[in-house]
């Protein structure tokens, strides 16, 4: 995406947080991170051995794993096996686990900020984005134990029955993360899915995948069980036809789907009646969609909740 690249990109005078450090001046040689996939709680490279070279805004580059169809299938397998356990955790606990992720993000704020700067954000802008992302996660951490009261309920039916409706998670949800908002947008879409009790396979922003990689590393040490979130980096045009058509994916969040891939993605999802969330028709993939109160949106949560209505006679 490189939203700001070329504009604020290599700001003069600011101390660059990411540089192509060399050891010529006797400074310590930086240990670079290998950006990997996150599947079932582990960090594999793509089974295909492929990477994409990503140019960073302040110089240097990163070799980002280019996930294959087989990586996707592995991610679905991991997600499916993690789904019952995550759905069975009580709502309050799910909220606490999400809150714990926010705690850990706070501790890694500098790295998230560096990731954003590497993708062209200015320093203060990146700092704000990280803070907003952590706050957004805390906002969602409060949701799980309120969903049934807000979205479910009882029905005063005309016959002598007690009828109640409870929202339940759909299951395995694939998220095409917003391209324009590589951390705040990603956290917003992911947190909604997790708060609802679903497990996720997340396709990171193609142009700005590093915050997703750091989020994977954060999740790995959090209390979110392995497999509940699986993060893939790679090319959307290559993965999406398989992702939407995979019969063991119950729902797809297409918020970040590029316009030119949307029709095929929806056709694919329709093949197996997968639930679909997406931008409103007139809405663009812009970072502003997630900023401020406007970003506190639950459409990514409600799209993947199934209402179960239970009837029982009243009588002695």
């Amino acid at each position: 995406m490189g939203k700001k690249s070329g504009k604020k990109g290599a700001g003069k005078g600011e101390s660059p947080l990411i540089t192509a450090v060399t050891a010529t001046d006797g400074a310590r040689l930086e240990i670079r991170r290998t950006p990997k996939l996150y599947i079932g709680g582990a960090f594999p490279r793509s089974e295909s051995g492929r990477t994409d070279v990503l140019q960073l805004a302040r110089g240097g580059s990163a070799n980002v794993a280019r996930a294959s169809r087989k990586d996707l299938r592995e991610a679905v397998k991991a997600a499916r096996s993690a789904a019952p356990g995550w759905a069975a955790r009580n709502a309050s606990l799910r909220g606490q686990i999400l809150y714990r992720v926010a705690e850990l993000m706070e501790g890694r704020a500098a790295q998230f900020r560096d990731d954003l700067i590497a993708h062209g954000y200015g320093k203060s802008e990146a700092t704000e984005e990280v803070a907003a992302s952590i706050d957004r996660l805390v906002w969602f951490a409060g949701w799980p134990d309120k969903i049934p009261a807000v979205l479910g309920g009882t029905s005063p039916v005309a016959s002598s029955h007690f009828v109640f409706t409870i929202p339940e998670p759909t299951g395995v949800v694939a998220i095409v993360a917003p391209e324009s908002s590589p951390l705040l947008g990603l956290v917003t879409r992911l947190a909604g899915v997790l708060a609802g009790g679903n497990v996720a396979i997340l396709l990171a922003s193609e142009g700005a995948p590093l915050p997703a990689v750091t989020l994977a590393e954060t999740l790995a040490v959090s209390d979110v069980p392995g497999g509940v979130v699986n993060i893939l980096t790679g090319r959307r045009s290559e993965l999406m036809p398989h992702l939407t058509r995979h019969a063991d994916i119950d729902g797809v969040d297409l918020w970040g789907c590029p316009d030119d891939l949307l029709a095929d993605a929806e056709r694919g999802a329709a093949e197996h009646v997968a639930r679909v969330a997406r931008r409103q028709h007139d809405e663009k993939d812009r970072a502003s969609a997630f900023q401020g109160e406007r970003g506190e949106r639950i459409d990514g949560m409600t799209a993947f909740l199934e209402m179960k209505t239970v009837w029982h006679p009243i009588g002695s």
């Binding site: 029905s155 009646v273 009837w311």
Partner: protein, 518 residues
């Protein structure tokens, strides 16, 4: 429908009276079910025919567009038949894409200029008025519905029509309270809503679709099913009688392609479909990438689970109601009986005994339990699937009963020894055919119940409350009936998991499908 009550037992045999002149003239070909049972049988009932004349069916119907009846552009008509007699009832317009275009134009204009600008409390009053008129004309609706669909008059009179009126009543009250439906958000209507409904509950499905759409401020273009258009066209008269502004409701009859033309028109902002999973998928694919809102109510293969501690007589009634209500032509029909092995033999025996007392025949007879199958095509589908059940090795049983000589009737059918892999355990039959599977443990029951691509409904029969809640939580189904079955109410959401579709109808959840919030 009354699954909690034990079967009605007549005091003694009543001799069958000679059919009245009216009945004989109206439906000469239908032999009443009473004649199918020996006169000595305690189940022999005298005929109690409802009067066909109450329906006031016109010889020909046009399309209802912009508040008026219009001829279709093609000038073509199709005939709708009485499934119980195979006699033609009326000619109905065969609409096409151009007619859909005209209806959508009318709906779009009505939305922009009238309905979305109207005070919500005024919109509410129109819906209340429609509900009242439906109540007032309920008998006419019931008779028309039964003649056109083949469902027993007892069901159209006691279930379809009152529930349809109740839906309008319920959603009328929402029209001026939308801000309470989505607290903290600004609710808005989508605009023009395209709706396609099936033939099994023609009027009720119309009400499920139109009532919440109008309450939310949308205008609608609705396509009834090709074989059951008459109550929808009667509803058009109700709209006129209620002085509903022209274009707010448009009802156009036509083939499936016309339904697709409605769904894919760019001016249609929301699509709602009830019908088969295969057509639902086609619609979803047809509108892919168009940014429309979509809800789908598709097929089902519900498990009705009977545990060994169930109240067996009640469970028998519930299983009977679950599969023979509306001839089993119900998306949420309890078409798979899962019975615990320890009671299977006794339960099947009681079930067979009860099945022999089902009165199959003239849908216009007030005593009829199982009416006519909606169409010849559906008869063939049922026959084909039943044949597959026999071929795959399941054991077929049908009660002794003589079916009317004309019309499309199918004997209540019970399969035992069904394997989960059999087609009759996997595919939606949409007929009076029950497939029995046994289980030993609670976990096995849940696993078998969920072993289907569908997830619309399920039934649980047990006297143990904690088990009900445990099993209900684990069933992947949108509606779970515990110690009851096939219950519906406007305040209660209805809809599926998995390939049974998405979105809910009924209740607050059903309203939100017709709102967009910003």
């Amino acid at each position: 429908m009354s699954s909690e009550q034990p079967p009605k037992r007549p005091e003694r045999a009543v001799k069958r009276a000679a059919p009245s002149a009216l009945t004989a003239a109206a439906a000469p070909a239908v032999s009443h079910v009473a004649s199918a049972l020996a006169a000595s049988s305690p189940w022999a009932y005298s005929p109690a025919p409802e009067s066909k004349e109450l329906a006031l069916i016109r010889p020909r119907y046009g399309l209802f567009i912009d508040g008026q009846e219009r001829a279709p552009v093609s000038g073509e008509v199709v005939v709708t038949y009485n499934p119980a007699t195979e006699e033609p009832l009326a000619e109905v317009a065969k609409g096409g894409a151009e007619d859909a275009d005209r209806a959508i134009t009318a709906a779009d204009r009505a939305h922009r200029k009238v309905w979305s600008k109207m005070e919500p409390r005024e919109r509410a009053k129109y819906l209340y008025r429609i509900s009242r008129i439906m109540q007032e004309r309920s008998r006419e609706f019931a008779v028309t519905e039964t003649l056109d669909s083949g469902k027993p008059i007892r069901e159209s009179r006691d279930v379809d029509v009152p529930l349809a009126a109740a839906h309008f009543w319920y959603y009328a009250g929402w029209a001026d309270k939308l801000q309470y439906a989505v607290p903290g958000r600004r609710p808005e209507s989508h605009g023009v809503v395209g709706q396609v409904i099936p033939w099994n509950f023609p009027l009720l499905m119309l009400a499920w679709k139109i009532a919440p759409a109008l309450a939310a401020g949308n205008t609608v273009v609705l396509k009834p099913a090709s074989t059951t258009p008459l109550t929808a066209l009667l509803f058009a008269e109700v709209c006129q009688q209620a002085d509903l502004p022209p274009g707010v409701v448009n009802i156009i009859t036509g083939p499936g392609e016309m339904g697709m033309a409605i769904a894919t028109d760019p001016r249609v902002a929301k699509v709602a479909f009830t019908g088969s999973t295969s057509v639902g998928i086609k619609i979803a694919q047809g509108i892919a990438g168009q940014g429309k809102a979509l809800t789908l109510e598709l097929g089902g293969k519900a498990a009705n689970i009977v545990f060994e501690d169930a109240a067996l007589d009640q469970a028998v009634e519930g299983v009977i109601n679950g599969i023979f209500f509306n001839q089993g032509e119900v998306c949420c029909a309890g078409s798979r009986l899962l019975v615990q092995e320890s009671i299977a033999e006794e339960f099947i025996a009681r079930l067979k005994e009860r099945m022999t007392t089902l009165r199959v025949g003239d849908p216009m007879d007030k005593n009829t339990d199982v009416g006519a199958i909606n169409s010849r095509a559906q008869m063939e589908t049922i026959g084909e699937l039943v044949a597959s059940g026999v071929a795959e090795g399941a054991k077929l049983w049908q009660p002794e009963c003589v079916l009317p000589t004309r019309g499309w009737f199918y004997k209540p059918t019970l399969f035992t020894g069904v394997a989960q892999s059999h087609r009759i355990a996997r595919e939606e039959i949409f007929g009076p055919v029950l497939s029995t599977i046994t289980f030993r443990t609670v976990d096995e029951a849940i696993e078998k119940a969920n072993n289907t691509a569908y997830g619309l409904s399920a039934g649980i029969w047990t006297e143990k409350g904690s088990r009900i809640l445990q099993v209900a939580a684990q069933l992947k189904a949108g509606v779970v009936w515990a110690n009851t079955f096939n219950r519906f109410d406007p305040t209660a959401p209805f809809g599926g998991y998995k390939e049974s579709g998405y979105g809910r109808e009924g209740g607050l959840q059903g309203l939100s499908a017709y709102l967009r919030s910003s």
